[in-house]
Symmetry: D2
Subunit: 296 residues, 4 copies
Amino acid sequence: MKVVFIGVGNMGGPMAVNLHHSGQEVIAVDLSEVLREQMRAEGLATAESPLDVCEGAGAVVTMLPHDQAVESVYIQSGLLDHLEEGTLIIDCSTISPSQAKRLHEHGEQAGLAVLDAPVSGGVAGAKAGTLSFICGGTNEAFERAGPILKGMGSNVFRAGNAGAGQIVKIVNNMLLAIQMVGTAEALSFGVDNGIDPKVLSDIMKVSSGQNWCLDKYNPWPDVMTGVPSSNDYQGGFLVKLMQKDLGLAAQLSRASGSSTPMGGLAMSLYDAYARQSDNNANLDFSAIQRLFRGEL
Amino acid sequence: MKVVFIGVGNMGGPMAVNLHHSGQEVIAVDLSEVLREQMRAEGLATAESPLDVCEGAGAVVTMLPHDQAVESVYIQSGLLDHLEEGTLIIDCSTISPSQAKRLHEHGEQAGLAVLDAPVSGGVAGAKAGTLSFICGGTNEAFERAGPILKGMGSNVFRAGNAGAGQIVKIVNNMLLAIQMVGTAEALSFGVDNGIDPKVLSDIMKVSSGQNWCLDKYNPWPDVMTGVPSSNDYQGGFLVKLMQKDLGLAAQLSRASGSSTPMGGLAMSLYDAYARQSDNNANLDFSAIQRLFRGEL
Amino acid sequence: MKVVFIGVGNMGGPMAVNLHHSGQEVIAVDLSEVLREQMRAEGLATAESPLDVCEGAGAVVTMLPHDQAVESVYIQSGLLDHLEEGTLIIDCSTISPSQAKRLHEHGEQAGLAVLDAPVSGGVAGAKAGTLSFICGGTNEAFERAGPILKGMGSNVFRAGNAGAGQIVKIVNNMLLAIQMVGTAEALSFGVDNGIDPKVLSDIMKVSSGQNWCLDKYNPWPDVMTGVPSSNDYQGGFLVKLMQKDLGLAAQLSRASGSSTPMGGLAMSLYDAYARQSDNNANLDFSAIQRLFRGEL
Amino acid sequence: MKVVFIGVGNMGGPMAVNLHHSGQEVIAVDLSEVLREQMRAEGLATAESPLDVCEGAGAVVTMLPHDQAVESVYIQSGLLDHLEEGTLIIDCSTISPSQAKRLHEHGEQAGLAVLDAPVSGGVAGAKAGTLSFICGGTNEAFERAGPILKGMGSNVFRAGNAGAGQIVKIVNNMLLAIQMVGTAEALSFGVDNGIDPKVLSDIMKVSSGQNWCLDKYNPWPDVMTGVPSSNDYQGGFLVKLMQKDLGLAAQLSRASGSSTPMGGLAMSLYDAYARQSDNNANLDFSAIQRLFRGEL
């Protein structure tokens, strides 16, 4: 199937390449000639504007940085009106549920099938083709998107109707932030009282304190190998991206009037940490451990 | 080995019975004749005071409700001085690390081997013999205690030296409280935005939001069977016991000057919830879900 | 001077009447015929649309409920282009700073002088003519607005340039929320420990715990007369309005990346309180006292 | 009247001197010969032990650093039993209410009149004789203490019965911490959004955001003269002393089961700030402003 893939940066680039290797006919679209050149080097066709190549496309996949980019690419550009009826729209961007719902509405008015499908797994998952997709839309759109999503990732979930993918991603990442800050606080508390961080982690991992951070992403340096905390908090999921997701959670909680005290506090602690040094926002989000250690 | 087991209430009773069945010669000690009678019905010898039966004991095991009871049973009573040199003391109570260290000091002065060994697993784990013991003390004391602890539980961890068992239990339970409140907040937030709580739980369980609560103890009613949330929050680990453990964490954080913002907030939310209705303190701690649902 | 006053509801109505009594030629504009009739009963001229009456106006004053209403009345309607060059725009609505800045930009492009001038003092202050205005805009616009603002209130502050009025109001109200929740928490804490709430309030009022709430708006029932807490928390500044203002603070903190842990927590506690009973959102914001007392 | 004043350090020293100048016959007691020498230089009689000089004393005044010192000086030493019946005990230390109540009980058993009378006003107030005393005890003891307290301070409050002075001081200081952190957070938030800190402070001081910090102790550098924030946060009320008082609040809230989310969060933020640099604990408590500015 001809798939127009818009936005081939750090995340979108490897996703488009994997999709190409899965057997789809992918055309990579980006305003950046540098990125287009990288895609051509991987064997993909490219274009500067989706309007030039969307004829006959069976699906459009987007990986864009924020609400405004989604608004611009799909709605302000008139792209939705240029697509053939029934074309499948898969937006993998992490954006606000309200923007996602707006895309669903405009797409459905144009006779298209729309799926919001934000991902988790980061750049590493994008490269390895092991991303998870959390989808919102009709069951039919979800079924149709299956072969495309499986070409880029390993787990595909349907969270509900329009916008549900964004909502569940936001809620999951808020809980992740709570657990990361809580785990960092707990490890620091134990070490302050003379406990070895590895012993403490090992016991909590098989006790009621167990969580994903302790299992896969321990924030204390050198407790675990191959994680950002053991590499000066380089790489991984950056503090500034967690701030963005917690900001989406804050915005969503205003719309629904939900009380989110733990998520709100985690956000404020990330905000305070990011402020302490110019570089902190670009560290992995497990670097919040340093806030509790009194390190910059 | 002759083992004097002091404190045979809800937790200590089934522990003593299991220890008896594991082949040890257990003498159950309690001030309550009712509890002693229950122990005799299970085939155990009993006594009202440990001083009457401690001669020749190879080990003393205690399961007591608070610091003051530990102080009274071991130190004020003079029991430590009545035990033969080398006797093994295993205190399974959940108490402050400072009281635990005090017991170690007095015990060691009397030539005894002391282990602090608080448990997790609750009354159900005590009955099933599947408790976890988190121990603090010398490696030698830990090794000697193995056969006794294995007679009452399935997991035995050494957290470090004197008091380390209490510290790790406190830290673990603080993290558990953070995760339970965070999970309840996240589920409520998702439901407010139209997501099904079971779908949300299922996705987060295999994502970075995964934690013990989602896996074993979902706080939303009827997402999981056989947990307190699906039984009107009856039974389980009571709110008031979580308040006690969070209070021990607050006390310990004062001694070490540790910053525990998430744990402190979780405690305040439990305190506010317990205040809302006379019965709330006696519900399972997953009932904090109700605070976010606006239910009493 | 001819002044077009748009939005004459609970707040705007008495403001327009006071402005009329101060000697200005006020034309009250509202979509509601009921409200227009009330204005005519007070001797004001009225109109349904500002476009019908804006010719020759020296100033336009608006009191509108949210961003979208300001966007609609000024920008989408084309009103700005119908006003004579140099007309003074005074927007007294409490809206987001970004919307306020947008109004400034559009107004200045049309050759108008714009002031954002949100108020504090509530309906009582609006009726008594004792409102405070916190203004953002050029010094010239601020000077020109003086006579009009003094016709409706007693205190007029210039906070800075475009949007500064909204920003300072938001920051002030966030601090107010922190202090109200903090005061309620402190009073409850003291009473729990046997202290009389009036004695406690009297001592803190002349100590370092002093704040506006203790002085003017004690949240504990019957400590002070003539305040909502002594009248079942009826009237005053409603919980839902504080939630709105804290939502604006949350939104603004996302734009600036500011860490606002205390403000965020106050918001979450108001959100939790509002959820507990259908009526809570319509009580005065000092009713947060009840959250700490375990009352619905 | 002969008054034995025990503990003449930074606070107690100037208090004893002022009391001496007010006409009382003060004997300054301290273990430190250096401090006794300073007192003799001011014209006071001195002693190393209160037991040597308590005969004929009408009152004993103490200014000690913590619970254990109060326990030691009054109870373990046997001092209470050496005093004549009816002697007035005034303990100005800031200690736990439970320790204060213990002193009341032991004192009353010995036929003495006891008052807990913690102070506010700091070293500056001690020197200037402008301290405030917040007292707990019988009305009779309070009346008798009046002339002595007036010799050292300007405000004297009776908060209630035994321990009430300590409780009200703790509650007041918890609210102070909430307001200081809240004020620092609000100022930083405004400045992040382009508002001048002095303009913001001036507006909030006359609005509903008003509090003691804005009036007397602005945490933003150079908004106010003669306060620690304008002197690199030197002097004043140290971070470590606020941590001590917030620790007493945390301990008291455990005893009463009170929910103190804002106070708990303020404590955690002070704890985190104190950890960031070796010197932070010795800065004035308004230095929490730096946490929000991303400064060490």
